[in-house]
Subunit: 342 residues, 2 copies
Amino acid sequence: MAAPEHPRMSDVAERAGVSLSTVSRALRGASGVAPKVRAEIENAAAELGYVVSRGASSLVTGRTGRVAVLVPFLQPWFFGVALAGMNTTLRDAGRDMLVYQVGDVGELDDYIHSLPLRRNVDAVIALALDLDEREIARLDEIGLPVVFCSQRVKGRRSIFIDNTAAAAEATRHLLNLGHTRIAYIQSKDQTGFSWDSRDRLKGYQQAMADAGAEPLVLTERSGREGGARAMGKLMSVERPPTAVFAESDDVASGVLQVVRRSRLAVPGAVSVIGFDDNDLAALFDLTTVSQPVQEMGEHAARLAVDLVDGGAAQSDHHVRLETAFVVRHSTGPPRENMGLHG
Amino acid sequence: MAAPEHPRMSDVAERAGVSLSTVSRALRGASGVAPKVRAEIENAAAELGYVVSRGASSLVTGRTGRVAVLVPFLQPWFFGVALAGMNTTLRDAGRDMLVYQVGDVGELDDYIHSLPLRRNVDAVIALALDLDEREIARLDEIGLPVVFCSQRVKGRRSIFIDNTAAAAEATRHLLNLGHTRIAYIQSKDQTGFSWDSRDRLKGYQQAMADAGAEPLVLTERSGREGGARAMGKLMSVERPPTAVFAESDDVASGVLQVVRRSRLAVPGAVSVIGFDDNDLAALFDLTTVSQPVQEMGEHAARLAVDLVDGGAAQSDHHVRLETAFVVRHSTGPPRENMGLHG
């Protein structure tokens, strides 16, 4: 079949062997078209040289075919993995992904401020932004569906893990090994404690209380430096802990750095647990809690697409994903009465 | 001043204290408006409730206000840092950033295939994609400006570092310390050797040849596993090298893992050099070559914006950014005749 000089949508439909309305839906990014069919239609359109202007299309449908993802950072492992999950899901749904880094409250305000002006997306995913009530209310003013990913917001569409249960599980692992002097390192940034941070601390506190053990919580800045600083302090207390639970693998890596420099054995002298199962954890043989980060991204993107397409997700729809406790070689029984001197 | 009920562009201009044409340029994302002025105009527009439809605007200007970034991966450190640089620059220029993960040739083909259909961006940045001539020709068919970031493409707009010179420098560091048995670990993926990889190998080979030293090159898959596997082999050869140059910090981390497990001293028994200065390098006290990744992203985004705005960048415009050699504690003089037995 020779390609018509000025191909029309009906030519695309004929070539792809589908109905005109399916072509229309596929090319404007509407729902209900299987990824495979969408791909065949796009191939047929491309072969024929049929061009649909998304701009013109969006004036008709009122849709842009795009979803914005707001992130506080782009560098850390967590964000790359979550964005990869979102990217795949959005692509399969025929949507484009816009990314905005809003590193501080001012940048977030700027974004929220200018979004109504731009009208360039159909939905917004807030990824690990830890928004407070005022900020969430601001986002609502935009008048677009918002999905919260890696933050539980009561009464709102959100995808998250049960940090409290997972942290309690990790703490019980140490208690079951025979540890009683278990320190917890909590992270605090300029904006305070994150949602994750508060919930993980709760889990540690609950498990310690249930076991009748005395909690010992240190608060430092996040990341490796915070972990190194906290471990330095812990090595100088009167009865050093035999185990340390860091609220993230990054923090745990700082703990391990100090422990190694001091030539203390892990887990002989001190057991260490992190949280995340990031790309460092396996390298350090770190016992940790594995978060399904890519899945969180996929779920958030799927929910955003469904909302745009008028899916039935209720305004308080939420998905709690399972974590997995990963035992490696950084944890073992305590050496009785030896602590750091083991 | 009370906000008018149906604000017009002239109201925005008055409130922001700028000309009508400046408002028009700012709100449609055109060039020549300082970020600060743009922000003031957007604030004034938001305060007045003035809404410009980017879709409608793009039908007039033929511009979308968006730039697409194509990446092979989203997880690795390199991509997060480069995207962060692009994101900041694009935002300051009033542009939105779309991200597409095209992990393999098939996905890249799909993207290229569907792009003319979508007409949703003004320019494309290919980030570390290692495109071959055929793929580059395909990208050209789209009819949009393309900027290559972290790949030098002859006669094309590209942002890159001088991998050959940097690798030669790293090799000379080892030679100057007194090493002569210096192994090089090269990475190969399904699609073959990357542009970076080929150029770095050249630098190593040149420096070794200049010094009259015998090159020893191992080829493994990329990443930590490849490094671990290569180091395993190197520990089993007749006269093990006294120094190892890994083509990336990730590969070097695998080398160090094996070295540590074998309880060999670094740099006593073996010196190790990486490439990238990623977030692991400092943690491992790894001597390495620092790439200005964020700057590469910023330059690429700036070039893309200039091209869209009709800036004067020639079709073969390219920017070569400086690397820095970072000496840490993973390199030192060889122990004479002790090799791995030191």
